[in-house]
Symmetry: C2
Subunit: 286 residues, 2 copies
């Protein structure tokens, strides 16, 4: 509440600090050179990043780790573990397990705190969502010992129900929390505001996630939304009450870093500096 226009409102202690910002690199797309992106992050005061595997595929994970180290940048999460759900054949299952071990190895090399687990959707051609969900759980159970040994958390993310069939069969925070608690140590939940803001049980589910929150991702829901994957808004551009969700996450004991992750064809087409300026400015307000 603004008492007077001359007296600025008192910032609550929980307001975000730039030091808590992590940039999920998908926000700038996948066309820039990795090194160039890291330099731009440093220039904009961003000290933590979250790469997708495609960001370092060309240079390799060792080179990526070296470039990060040279700049004293840390890695919050690596995106992502994604193949269990659709793996309804023995071949596909082995490939999903192989992918999972590869991501764990890469995350360890990058000294990432966690891996975002979206789990995967239905097999090509369809299939049961319940079975896909069971495969995600079994897959995580199988690779969790490796993740524990590598010191990397498996952060289970509830994806938006609109991408359940195609990308991820975990679709509510309650479901992710139940799965993480069932798996035990080494598992956690990634709370993505864009994917879960609509959930009538949001507040209860986040409270119930206390002690299990591995990460928090922010972007905004645009009205209208014209694409089911790449039309997210920068925090503040849309209709999600992001400060309220951040407060829930904080009250559940999570202290950051908070990732800005904006999958947007519109934003990723902008110059790097323009995007990073928008990221830092919107982060501090949301």
């Amino acid at each position: 509440m603004v008492i007077s226009e001359n007296i600025p409102p008192v910032e609550p202690d929980t307001s975000p600090k730039l030091s808590q910002l992590a940039l999920n690199l998908i926000t700038v797309g996948t066309d820039h050179h990795f090194e160039q992106v890291l330099d731009a992050c440093v220039a904009h005061g961003i000290r933590i990043v979250s790469p997708w595997r495609s960001h370092y595929a060309e240079i390799g994970v060792n080179q990526a780790a070296a470039l990060l180290r040279e700049r004293s940048l840390s890695v919050s999460t690596v995106c992502r573990m994604s193949e269990f759900g659709a793996a309804d054949s023995e071949t596909a299952w082995q490939s999903a397990i192989t992918e999972a071990h590869q991501v764990i190895g890469e995350a360890a090399t990058l000294r990432a705190a966690s891996i975002t687990v979206i789990g995967g959707g239905l097999p090509i051609g369809g299939g049961s969502l319940t079975e896909a969900r069971n495969r995600i759980e079994r897959g995580l159970e199988q690779v969790l010992p490796s993740a524990r040994a590598a010191g990397v958390n498996l952060a289970i993310e509830a994806l938006h129900p609109m991408v359940a069939a195609e990308r991820g069969g975990i679709n509510t925070i309650a479901q992710a929390v139940a799965m993480a608690k069932g798996l035990g140590e080494g598992a956690g939940v990634m709370i993505d505001a864009y994917n879960t803001w609509w959930d009538p049980a949001l507040s209860d589910s986040i409270a119930d996630a206390k002690g299990w929150i591995s990460g928090y991702q922010m972007s905004d829901w645009l009205v209208p939304t014209t694409d089911m994957a790449f039309d997210r808004g920068m925090p503040g551009e849309g209709v999600i009450d992001l400060p309220a969700i951040r407060s829930m996450v904080q009250e559940a004991g999570f202290q950051g870093p908070y990732e800005v992750e904006v999958l947007s064809a519109r934003w990723s087409a902008q110059p790097l500096d323009t995007v990073l300026e928008a990221v830092t400015a919107s982060f501090l307000k949301n």
Copy 2:
């Protein structure tokens, strides 16, 4: 389970009968004359329809009722009550209440069993989803006595979370059931398979809806889905396990009619007979 390829599986008693089919008229779009659509329904053995208000806007509800009566067609639901959520000004609120009373009057004239309540989304320009949800509940509370007096059930429908901001702030069956139970007699829930198939709590929520289910709507989720409103599939075209959801609804005591409601630019562009043939054939298998 098929015991032998030569012995056809025994059909369960719960398999759908054509007499249980209701056609939600949005499936054929809004370009045909009302009378022409009704004649086509009769020709295809469809005895129950569910019109949207736009279907009879031009001829008026009395004429629509007469045309239905002449053909001995009944009406399952009228679609829809939709303005409370966004009504964040006194003017908008009065307009929402007026709309609601109008729909109740029309449903009574059409002798519809119920009105589909989607409730509405956020105000233009944004706003709180929690407040929109509260407005939906308050609005229904206010008009429920009229609905009871008219003998029309208010069937609260959980819309897909992808349209929460734009059209409907009720997004899980659990939320709809809680609202219906809170409102009491005269309220119920409309279970739309397309909007809720992804819900990890689907089976529990439908069981919990026992005694409160006012309707069941079927269409299918396509992979990929290219439009957030008009790219649904005919039952069987997509990935939803519709027979499983129908069983849940039946086990919760609902005996039909079951509405086929396919919002699809592709299907509504087809000739009437083509669409109705697909509707009846797919209904009997799902």
